[in-house]
Subunit: 90 residues, 2 copies
Amino acid sequence: MDDSLFRALADPTRRRILELLTEKDRTAGEIAEQFPMAFASVSHHLGVLKAADLVATEREGQFIRYRLNTTVFQEIVRYFMTRFGRDSNA
Amino acid sequence: MDDSLFRALADPTRRRILELLTEKDRTAGEIAEQFPMAFASVSHHLGVLKAADLVATEREGQFIRYRLNTTVFQEIVRYFMTRFGRDSNA
DNA sequence: GACACATTTAGAAGATTGTATAAATATCTC
DNA sequence: GAGATATTTATACAATCTTCTAAATGTGTC
């Protein structure tokens, strides 16, 4: 469980990006237009999410499409369940 | 799901404190001596964890005893399961 | 009340982060 | 290859965070 993962989750804009990606995969531009900040700032957030392996990318011509890496979320749930879950002492 | 919760989890010292508290409840001093940093710095981290409602305190004479707030961890697991879990679209 | 111990609060310094603008890279169309 | 669009990278600045030392608060003992 990497430190970059928790740091990536600490920002509300990034959590909102992740929620947008639960609905469907989206290009960087489609994501950026949902936020009032500069395009480059959203791109930076996407880079943080990608470095934490929370999202993956695929180039589609001019566009770059982002999708959730659901595997990591399973690991997050497992992290909290095993360490802090009700039956963690069992 | 409050922003302060994710920010509190973003620091490795604070996550380590939470893990120590899964073993047993501990006083501020018992927690602080596990870390190489100044006593006051650990106290600050404890304050952040308490503000995020991840821990609760109880005074015992001179000492202040910290314990995990397990309810919040259940909420965290639920947060990730409902939004990002495999069956979140069901 | 004076002193010792446990802990928090205040204030400051350095590191990290979030956001902005400008420049760079990549792809597509003509 | 020139120009248009999509996206990232570089750089800078302000805000936030982590840690420190010093001072303050709360409790117990004499």
